[in-house]
Amino acid sequence: MNRIAEIRKKIDAYWDTLLSSGRDDVRIMEICGTHTVSISRSGLRATFPKGLKLISGPGCPVCVTGQSYVDKAVYLARQPDVIIATYGDMVRVPGATGSLEAVRGEGGKVEVVYSAHQAVDLARRCEDKQVVFLAIGFETTAPATALAIQKADREGVENFSALLSHKLVIPAMRALLNDKDIRIDGFLCPGHVSVITGWRVYEPIVNEFARPCVVAGFDDEQILKGICEILRQLAEQSPAACCVYPAVSETGNLHAQEVIHETFDVIDTYWRGIGIIPASGLGLKERFSRFDADKRFNLPVFEEHDPPGCRCGEVISGKCIPPECPLFGTICTPREPIGPCMVSSEGSCAAYYKYDRH
């Protein structure tokens, strides 16, 4: 028997145990967008027992970023002396007055970078321009922003700034568990966030809410192992924080945690679909505040809003699945996306559209 078949056999056995204890409905949330894509691509959902539901959580950085942030980025991109430097996923997200891609079409400067330090290098090359880096993402990506800010500070690159919207995963998990409209029986925890944080950070969630929190990697076997472990814990009524992904240690990457701590303060921040979550975001410490694009530019106030009819907010928080949105696959498609979950390659709607439409 191959390794996958062995894991599946165990999953079936734990499922039988759960059924015999009267439990025929288990909802596991995968928090990471990369997990969502892997699960959809592999077709795993269709192979699970009826009643075992995998629901996507707020794990796609572009999707959880508020619309007002997109509108600010688009506003800045339209300023003649500004160059926007961004990860590719943000470029096509529609804002109230268009997307960054549209601004680029109008002659605005929007450069795609794969690393934050490239934005600092760009600023050094373009001294007569202001380079604004769109700093979004979770714990995995925040250290790169922190190092870019420190580099700009050290090297005196004063025409660089960052528009910040970094977010922390654990406060969002806690917010979802406190929401009475959502039922989550266990979490498949994000592999690469956990490389930074370590897997023991989930222990307080387990202690407070008694839900399994299992960190897994991204191929089929890793995802099945993670789900198998969650079902074992549920069947044996022994929720715990643990990890099946060898890349993740108990305590994570201490260097990365240190650069985050040196550079950022933990602040309240807005999540699309959830609202403001206390202590769930990262803002620049006072000594780096001159690199904060929000402070450097005299930005108008932008309101949070969602595209009319778009249910991205509910998709992100596990309240509905993409095909339940009336726009899904009809007027909202990857070619002409309405909401961010259809834009980002890690968005649930894009993953369902590509792999799970039927």
Binding site: Y114, S115, T140, H192, V195
Partner: protein
């Protein structure tokens, strides 16, 4: 966005590594894994190495690399 790719460090110039990323040579900053050395497997995310991997774990955990191994055996 939290995608990270396993790669092997081929050379190191202070904190800038050249890694072999499935055949492509890519630069990665090792500031977050200062103990990384030539020959180590690392996970690369957004231009930075974020952890050092055990070679056996790499082959066990990443389907892409397993498949490449199998192709090479043919």
């Amino acid at each position: 966005m939290c995608l990270a790719i396993p790669a092997k460090i081929e050379s190191l110039d202070q904190h800038i590594a050249t890694v072999d990323l499935a055949g492509a040579k890519v630069r990665a900053d090792t500031t977050l894994t200062p103990e990384a050395k030539v020959g180590d497997w690392v996970l690369v995310h957004a231009g930075y190495t974020i952890t050092i991997l055990d070679e056996k774990d790499v082959r066990e955990t990443f389907a892409v690399l397993r498949e490449m191994d199998e192709l090479q055996k043919r």
